[in-house]
Amino acid sequence: MTRKRVHLAAHFPGVNNTTVWTDPRSGSQIDFASFVHLARTAERGKLDFLFLAEGLRLRELKGRVHDLDVVGRPESLTVLSALAAVTDRLGLAGTVNTTYNEPYELARRLSTLDHLSDGRAAWNVVTTSDAFTGENFRRGGYLDRADRYERAAEFVRLSRELWDSWRPDAVAADRETGTFVRPGAIGDVGHRGAHFSVEGRFTLPRSPQGHPVVIQAGDSDEGREFAAAHADVIFTPHGRLEDGRRFYADVKRRLARYGREPHQLKIMPGVTFALGDTDEEAAENAAAIRRQQVGPRTAIAFLEQVWGRDMSAYDPEGPLPDIEPDPAEGVSQGRVPIKDRAAVAAKWRALAGEKGLSIRELVIEVTGRQTFVGTPGSVARQIDEHVQADAADGFILVPHLTPGGLDEFVDRVVPLLRERGVFRADYTGATLRDHLELT
């Protein structure tokens, strides 16, 4: 049996505590040079794509902007378009919300990016919607999950209709006959649905990929169903072997319902990593990174999100206080809410008691453990094994440092994946669809 190929993408470090800014090597999160650095590193490694996340309102804790993590990002598609000028083959994936955008405009922006990158554009479709984020937009408000995904599905279908509306040969640009566009080659779009009503004509020729790659990131049943019906790639948090296999089987099984084949939807968990020359050194590095990720105040902030109340008076190096979570609405805004905070608190308390952990040690224990820890050889083997075991089709690598956090992985792990015969030595196609083997 032939071995599955591994797909790899690079996630620009995010605005949460996974990204370490206290390290002397930490560079700017906003200077274009940082984006160029990461994109070029990814392209040097022949990775499939670079990935940018999105958050449309700054996160708040206790009614104030959260100040402990890296914050401040560019608009995804604008920075990706600039990166198209300094890269040749690397896919360029931007996260853009369907609740706070309109199909005609966004389809046009995505088509533009696909044209300007010669076929390397991808769109991570997210549906995040809360009244808090809505305060920045005309639309405002809030959509519940079913409505969000219904709107997202209609949005993607309509975008594809717009992308398809110019026949591939529509632009003749025949100077002899004076025919710029072939008569009848541009179709009109007339759409009337529950969420959108769009009537008229699109402004761009069909782009190199035809349809930019669609990625989905959301984990609910509705999210998975949406991905099975519409997405080319899933960005999922399920990076561990058993968990990943369950998720993989679940989502791939859903495809048949939409007349799709398993290879038409690539499953790529977001994963973190820590490397070392020996397994012991890697484990030490991993532990050191986690201590950087959870500073004393960050530990308290995590506690506050679960307990739903101000806990700044407690010593992060001391024991967990003996108080119950506030069942009221919570103190955190702008991130996916924690379900059943009381149960989480009970679990944390039990764990802290059992192992005798301080607040900070507990938070280090329960959050953000690196997915892959080991020597380059060991990490390459783990990645390969996950893919061959159908826990994933590849991974979206989330480095903890901007902009150099991917350098070591590309220099030391990628060559070993190549030696295992599961990762490309060079790009064989021009477009992101080619890299992802989406046909």
């Binding site: 274009f32 100040d67 560019p74 920045n136 937009f137 769009v198 402004t203």
Partner: protein, 383 residues
């Protein structure tokens, strides 16, 4: 003092038949890269990029079904971003509509353009009054545009669109200021990445939308990217005077230039006044234009004055209008890259001969080139 010179880029040029006289492929990045690097070689202040939320048409509203003219355009903000890394000094001023777009997204997009270009971003803010474009969004129903209507200001629909545009620019300006310059502190001792007292809510609530803020993007390098607007009449002059740093006006004679300058100056002492001209350059300019008119089956019509002649003759017009108080020009090349190259290789030398054009870029930001200081954030406490 130096005269400011910009070019307006659109398709294969401003003549609708221009594409037939050039090998330009308007849907390739290469075409645009060649144009903007040429403009930068000519030391121009900036390029603007046209855009709209619907296909081009010879009709004021709706499709004309013509197949002999360029149809289709890239999103201008993304195109400008694609060009930013290929240039280092020239300003990049894409058009973005205020009517159907989200002010928050536009503000963050222009701020991002400023970050990726190292402080060279501008924005040409434009309304969209067309019913055909409103139908692409399906959220508002617009009356059909009346091509006969002369008095824009009398139309309450158009008045509202300009009021909305002013609100959109106000929101963008607040969002650009919403992070003070020194908000990012990276204070390891206290574990704080930012000083949140230096992040501010925009707290904008108006008739058309409200926006809370702060921006998700740190303050752009210029603090305030340059806002520009095209204006042909009193209502848009008022919008420009209240919202923009640069206004493009369209006089057709020396007298009109004087009159427009006087009218705009009375509204704003600070705004930079640029005049727009469609230009066909060279000894054979008139013949070239006539040939294109014939190919197109109509004489070129434009909101701006149409100039045909040599660069020396054009320089004379610019100098005359300069005396009328015009501070800069946005030239719309009839054919690309031909007429652009006459500007960058001929007109600039001619103007330099008169001592009114730069010999080297004197600043690294667009505000710098325009002589606009970098403003402090409106939210910064003066200490």
């Amino acid at each position: 003092m130096t005269l400011h010179l910009a070019v307006a880029l659109d398709g294969a040029g401003w003549h609708p038949a221009a594409w037939r006289e050039t090998s330009a492929d308007v849907f390739s990045a290469r075409h645009w890269a060649a144009l903007v690097t040429e403009a930068e070689r000519g030391l121009l202040d900036f390029v603007t990029i046209e855009d709209a939320l619907g296909p081009q048409s010879t009709l004021p509203d709706g499709l004309d079904e013509r197949t002999d003219q360029v149809r289709g355009r890239f999103d201008a903000v993304l195109l400008a971003a694609r060009l930013a890394p290929l240039t280092s000094r020239i300003g990049l001023v894409p058009t973005a509509t205020t009517t159907h777009t989200e002010p928050f997204h536009v503000a963050v997009g222009i701020a991002t353009l400023d970050h990726v270009s190292g402080g060279r971003a501008g924005w040409r803010a434009q309304i969209s009054a067309r019913a055909s474009e409103a139908r692409h969004f399906g959220r508002r129903r617009f009356p059909p545009l009346d091509p006969g209507a002369r008095d824009l200001a009398a139309d309450p629909h158009v008045r509202d669109l300009f009021a909305e545009a002013a609100d959109a620019v106000e929101v963008a300006r607040r969002l650009w200021d919403s992070w003070e310059d020194d908000a990012e502190i990276r204070d390891v001792a206290t574990g704080r990445f930012i000083d949140r007292d230096k992040l501010h809510y925009a707290d904008f609530a108006g008739r058309f939308f409200s926006v809370k803020g702060p921006s998700i993007t740190p303050r752009p390098p210029q603090g305030q990217p340059v806002v520009t607007a095209l204006a042909h009449a009193r209502l848009p002059y008022e919008f420009a005077a209240g919202s923009a740093d640069v206004v493009y006006v369209t006089p057709h004679s020396d007298e009109q230039a004087r009159a427009v300058v006087e009218e705009v100056r009375a509204l704003s002492g600070e705004i930079k006044i640029f005049a727009d001209l469609v230009v066909f350059l060279g000894e054979d300019a008139a013949r070239r234009k006539a040939r294109l008119d014939e190919l197109d089956g109509a004489e070129l019509a434009s909101d701006a004055a149409i100039f045909t002649g040599t660069v020396r003759e054009l320089a004379d017009v610019l100098l005359e209008w300069r005396r009328a108080g015009v501070q800069g020009f946005r030239l719309r090349p009839g054919v690309l890259p031909y007429d652009l190259e006459r500007i960058t290789r001929g007109l600039t030398a001619e103007l330099r001969g008169h001592g009114v054009f730069r010999r080297a870029y004197e600043a690294t930001t667009l505000r710098g080139l325009l002589g606009l200081p970098r403003p402090a954030s409106r939210y910064a406490e003066v200490s």
